[in-house]
């Protein structure tokens, strides 16, 4: 087992899984039926998608 999660899909148990952001703001806005517009320079695409969405890869409806 491992202290933190080391890799996506690892089979060994994890003592302290990553902190879960249950409902990032993009999801909340989308769920309320409102539209969002994210603007960022190219280098910051990943921070404004993956990280801004609480570490999720799948985008919610914009």
């Amino acid at each position: 087992m491992t202290l933190t999660a080391y890799a996506d899909g690892q089979t060994a148990a994890v003592a302290f899984p990553p902190a879960d952001v249950a409902e990032p703001i993009a999801q909340a806005v989308s769920a309320a039926g409102l539209q969002r517009f994210h603007a960022a320079e190219t280098e910051e695409i990943r921070p404004l998608t993956y990280f801004f969405n609480g570490g999720r890869r799948n985008a919610v409806r914009g």
Binding site: A15, I25, F52
Partner: protein, 266 residues
């Protein structure tokens, strides 16, 4: 910019340290900042969360650890803690190891072994300690083991920051595992003796050969046996990921076999 500030509501955001879930005084970064902005609350980062858990004693209440220790007890098996030893807080900290050992002791674990394949300068801060610092960094876990009455160094060296990632990683990883899993390699009577011998030979922390600690009869203090429980205690993933990677290496297969029953429970 001045026009915007004058015309519209505005505020300053603090983006470092505890305000974004990092340890106090630690510089922020783009990933951490955006994670916090999108979440709408302070997202505690791994090191901060683990430091807090270690300080409050909640390693003891951790379900995954409790399951692992219960399994080891039920089997009468040893628990092996493997990770980098040092206080550099880049990959691992001895505070977490000490907390793990206390938790293991409280859970009734009597055989705890530590493999510390890492004593590198990056872990200690070159300026403060120089490239020969393990005796200082091993003091805290040693004191914790003494208090807890559990835990014993079984393997020392090499430093994971280079040992497991350099182009020769395959070879060095295999040597490290042969020492940790099979008890084969250079031997020494104690962790301190292993480090002293390396220094006497002009070897710095990063290049200490995998050293197996042995008893008076020359027998290894520990091997990783089938059914043993293995806990990798680095909080940062990149050096340890290699150990989890699936590859047809008999040593790693043995490690996974030791860990398999935990895997199936998760």
């Amino acid at each position: 910019m001045d026009g915007l500030v004058a015309a519209y509501p505005n505020a300053k955001l603090s983006a470092s340290g505890l305000d974004v879930g990092l340890p106090e005084g630690q510089m922020g970064n783009s990933e951490v900042g955006h994670l916090n902005l999108g979440a709408g609350f302070v997202v505690m980062q791994d090191l901060t969360r683990l430091n807090a858990a270690a300080a409050s004693g909640s390693f003891r209440d951790n379900q995954a650890l409790a399951d692992a220790f219960a399994l080891a007890r039920a089997r009468g098996a040893a628990v092996h803690f493997i990770g980098l030893l040092g206080d550099g807080r880049v990959h691992a900290t001895s505070t977490h190891l000490a907390a793990l050992l206390r938790a293991a002791h409280d859970a009734g674990i009597v055989t705890a072994r530590i493999a510390a394949p890492a004593l590198g300068p990056r872990l200690h801060g070159r300026a403060r300690h120089g490239p020969k610092a393990p005796s200082a960094s091993s003091r805290r876990p040693r004191a914790a083991f003494a208090r807890a009455g559990a835990g014993q160094f079984a393997t020392i060296g090499p430093d994971g920051t280079t040992g497991w990632t350099a182009t020769s990683a395959g070879t060095r990883t295999a040597r490290a595992w042969r020492a940790i899993v099979d008890g084969e390699g250079t031997t020494a009577a104690s962790a301190a003796a292993a480090v002293r011998a390396a220094y006497d030979a002009g070897t710095t922390d990063e290049f200490i050969a995998p050293t197996v600690l042995v008893d008076a009869g020359g027998r290894p203090l520990a091997r990783v046996a089938d059914g043993d429980v293995v806990v990798l205690f680095n909080f940062r993933a990149d050096r340890m990921r290699q150990l989890l990677a699936a590859r047809p290496d008999p040593l790693l297969r043995q490690l996974r076999a030791a860990d398999a029953s935990l895997t199936s429970r998760s």
